[in-house]
């Protein structure tokens, strides 16, 4: 091997080694918000009677601007059988805020009438039901001995965007 080539090789190797630590720094741009979905108390069992609902902000920051974000709005539902469920309050279609209807035991969107099953969070009527992705993101709930309800993470993607029409 010629000396010149050797030097070139060394410079190249050194350059690669020098750049390597910067590659993971690309993560700076990728915002995975798992760290934002911290465990947070949202309500107590006694706050909400059976067959009723509560709109809550999660994760709550205390900043009005951030907390007014529709993507942070969730619906805590106490089904008639006493079971608790919490879904993202953002309709899968065009991002209106959905609401629970106690008389029909389902979740309805005021905008174009998408209707979701309150047990499973799956749309069965309206534009959202015609999409590929028709399940509302769900909040993982934990209830401790005092009856305090905690939110601890979200399953699914909020604000995925509608499909087709």
């Amino acid at each position: 091997m010629k000396r010149r080539d050797f030097v070139k090789g060394i410079v190249l190797a050194s350059g690669i080694v020098g750049i390597t630590p910067f590659i993971p720094a690309g993560k700076f741009l990728v915002t995975t918000f798992s760290f934002k979905y911290v465990r947070q108390k949202i309500a107590n069992v006694n706050d909400i009677p059976p067959n009723n609902r509560l709109l809550f902000t999660y994760p709550k920051t205390g900043d009005i601007e951030q907390d007014s974000d529709p993507f942070r709005k969730f619906l805590l539902i106490r089904l008639p059988n006493g079971e608790f469920k919490a879904y993202s309050a953002v309709c899968l279609h065009l991002w209106c805020i959905i609401d629970y209807k106690p008389d029909k035991v389902d979740i309805e969107c005021p905008c174009h009438g998408s209707t979701y099953n309150a047990q499973t969070g799956v749309a069965f009527k309206g534009p959202a039901s015609k999409q590929f992705n028709k399940t509302l993101p769900e909040v993982k709930l934990e209830i401790d001995d005092n009856g305090d309800i905690y939110a601890n993470g979200v399953i699914g993607v909020i604000g995925y965007g509608r499909e087709g029409a």
Binding site: C111, H112, P127
Partner: protein
């Protein structure tokens, strides 16, 4: 005359005229009205490049001017004439019809009654929202929709029945008519 510019300025004007006509006068679809901004810009740009195209290498002859005249005449007919003629006038009959509709989910007055009026009648519809979500009222083809009103509020719209035929009255909020908030609105010819 400059051939390339001649072609493109005519194309610009033609696209603009079609767009403006679609947005202002066609009844094909409401949402075409959003085309207005860009169509008007196309016409203005086309009209401003036209003199350059025509005069560049000497004045055009009659044969070359005839497409220009054609395009301009199409424009005047499609866009200019409706401005002056306007919709056909209908003499008002002098009657005022008062109608009250109560909106709930998903019907007007529970049954969506058929409404019948005569040509030229002045119609006043009062909408009372007894539902749990926002509603509104529109007689499609006879007037613009009313503003959206919240539960418990009411609103009145007023228009003259200027066209004969069968129309739909609906809640124009997307999805609501689909779920049943629509009824028939019939305009018959005048009896006397």
């Amino acid at each position: 005359m400059d051939r390339g510019m001649y072609i493109s300025s005519h194309l610009l004007i033609l696209f603009g005229i079609i767009g403006t006509w679609l947005s202002l006068y066609s009844n094909i679809s409401d949402s075409f009205k959003e085309l207005a901004g860009v169509s008007i810009l196309l016409i203005v740009l086309g009209l401003m490049t036209l003199p350059v195209a025509l005069l560049k290498n000497g004045p055009p002859n009659l044969k070359q001017l005839s497409p220009t005249a054609g395009v301009l005449i199409i424009g005047v007919i499609l866009i200019g004439l409706p401005i002056f003629t306007g919709p056909p006038r209908v003499v008002e009959s002098g009657r005022i019809i008062n109608i009250t509709l109560i909106s709930t989910e998903w019907a007007f007055n529970q049954t969506n009654p058929t409404i019948q009026v005569e040509l030229g009648d002045r119609v006043r519809i009062t909408l009372i929202n007894n539902g749990t979500i926002t509603h509104s009222i529109e007689v499609v083809g006879l007037g613009p929709p009313s503003p959206k009103i919240n539960p418990g509020e009411n609103i009145t719209i007023e228009f003259v029945a200027t066209k004969e035929g069968t129309f739909d009255y609906i809640c124009p909020i997307p999805g609501h008519a689909e779920f049943g908030m629509h009824g028939k609105f019939i305009v018959t010819s005048r009896t006397k």
